[in-house]
Symmetry: C2
Subunit: 412 residues, 2 copies
Amino acid sequence: MRQSQLFTKTRREAPKDEESRNAQLLIRAGYVHKEMAGVYAYMPLGLRVMEKIKDIVREEMNALECQEFIMTSLQRKELWERTDRWDDRNVDVWFKSELKSGGQVGFGWSHEEPITDMMRGYISSYRDLPVYGYQFQTKLRNELRAKSGIMRGREFVMKDLYSYSRTEEDHKAFYDRVIEAYLRVFDRVGLGDSTFLTFASGGAFTQFSHEFQTVSEVGEDVIYLDRKKNIAINQEVLTDEVMSQLGVNRESLEEVKSVEVGNIFSFGGTKSEQLGLYFKDDDGSQKPVILGSYGIGITRLMGIVVEKFADEKGLVWPESVAPFKAHLISLGADERAEEVYKALTEAGIEVLYDDRDARAGEKFADSDLLGIPYRVVIGKRSAESGEAEVKSRTGEETEIVGISGLVKYFNK
Amino acid sequence: MRQSQLFTKTRREAPKDEESRNAQLLIRAGYVHKEMAGVYAYMPLGLRVMEKIKDIVREEMNALECQEFIMTSLQRKELWERTDRWDDRNVDVWFKSELKSGGQVGFGWSHEEPITDMMRGYISSYRDLPVYGYQFQTKLRNELRAKSGIMRGREFVMKDLYSYSRTEEDHKAFYDRVIEAYLRVFDRVGLGDSTFLTFASGGAFTQFSHEFQTVSEVGEDVIYLDRKKNIAINQEVLTDEVMSQLGVNRESLEEVKSVEVGNIFSFGGTKSEQLGLYFKDDDGSQKPVILGSYGIGITRLMGIVVEKFADEKGLVWPESVAPFKAHLISLGADERAEEVYKALTEAGIEVLYDDRDARAGEKFADSDLLGIPYRVVIGKRSAESGEAEVKSRTGEETEIVGISGLVKYFNK
């Protein structure tokens, strides 16, 4: 993409009412636009990052033979009443509205209820099980406060997966496969080293649920880590009993702040019983279907990647989620730079080409702010020498690479 | 994809409360799930069709050098008040809700206001123009009645494009390019022969706006066609004056029902003035930016494709938007069918493989209902003869194709 065509601009200052570092940087670099507190639009560069993260998650979900679909934002009151989750006293994040045709309607903050209800049309026998389905859905949550940028929004994108299993054993086997897939996702977006499978409160059905927590100073959660044993425990369940059960002791635990980037729940047959989702087993008996739900906050993941890697100069994207692999900068050598842009693009390398009429200092500062992994400078000398200056966003050293070898360099 | 893994099922009967033929068929075939009147979830097959349509539209938008982004559903009251479009007396399709933090919030039924307001951060000089940006957005509209299936939903996906131009001339040139691109879109999804650029009422700023109307018995609009001159006029603007202006006469006009599949508007500088989007021209003067907006209803397009092509046996998809190109059916020859499935899939041909343990009659009826362009039957004789029976969904004749030649057959 030519930077001269990108309609967003970088800016020196973030909006004064923006408190979070991730949103400040993303707004300054033109990746997102703040519509209101906790509500962000994704501009071309931001959308590219979001789609890269979604593609990674999608690949891992499809590898588990999960099927993608998309539910609706509008929600039926009577359905959520059946599980006692309509009332504001039980769920305090509903947006609700009046229907012109009469009655109330809600806006989806979660989707276990409509999906489980829908499955009554598709699941009736043990032969129909298991079912694994997921969606990328824009969730709406009426949060009282929203001060964490894109990490906790009133409107945000989540991948939610639902598993419908015949038995607890089948459920457990799939549940463990999801844990592995989630760890691969966090690894692939660059958070592998700092993300831990964490024991958290389990609710009515199980002693524990599992969360994925990424260690970060901006986190709203506190977890206790035993790095040697690779065990993490959410503060909310840290008791003597739990420590002894998990074989850790308080002295070896490190207290850290963290951000919940994923969570997984086992519902057993409870929700299926509430909503009437039963199947006929091979002995003729009617049984409730065993439900699991598994979430990854896509936009939150983008936010924590920003928080984790950004430096004093701006954004720093891991290659796997960067909007472009290379940032090509022409310094008065447009003809040669055009050739390079064409050659790289034709070779399938994603390039943002700074073809603007601007000073070198401005181009470099913008490049650092945008955070694309590699900067490729074509200057006046390049035209003569046939060489480009390549620098990684976080590296100190500039490498001289022959222009004819650039495609190979980036495909390595 | 293996059909045994698809969680949706076909069914003989549509829900009793579903009046529209497109939704009846899509529900029976498992492409969509009805959440409530005018609110449909898209199951794996339906999502595949929607994504194919989006990809076609995206290609045509990108070819015009438009940039994709995504705005928010949540809308600020004070912004829409500035253009007098918040009040229910002026806009009767708002969903509105109370914010926990105080005040009201709306849910996006259109996005001219927030995008134009946002552009104030990116456009200040003639050097920043033009800007062309588009999104695929889930729109929410509080319709009193919703009886047309996915053709008029309370929740639906729209592609909306916005152009910001320096002069009326620049605007007009781009506007004409969008018309060409839209006609290509309708052509590519199979509606080219029946879709007409139509003169419609222009509102405050221009005498006419342009719509794209697809002739259909289920249409809610009435247009008048002069097929020879390729001119179409919406009933709402058909006056003697307009007919003489466009050089047609009443006798040569054919009255037909139609569905609006796209529309384009010129706003001039009006909305920019209301929202304060000005630019400094090269003579130093401040001018309002010229706005155009251009919509295609993605899910509506899917609905009209269903209405247009479906027959008494079920859905019929044009190849360009079909969820799969071929429907491979094994009749007691699973081993050989597996080989074919693998070979076609590896060659990049999208195949739905009916590997279920079911009767031939059931498989054929389901195949007709699903509407995939080509049916490939591998029976017991195929294993010996090395031949498959290929039939197009709408053809009468069955073709005998050597199994080793199937990849070539579908790549032709």
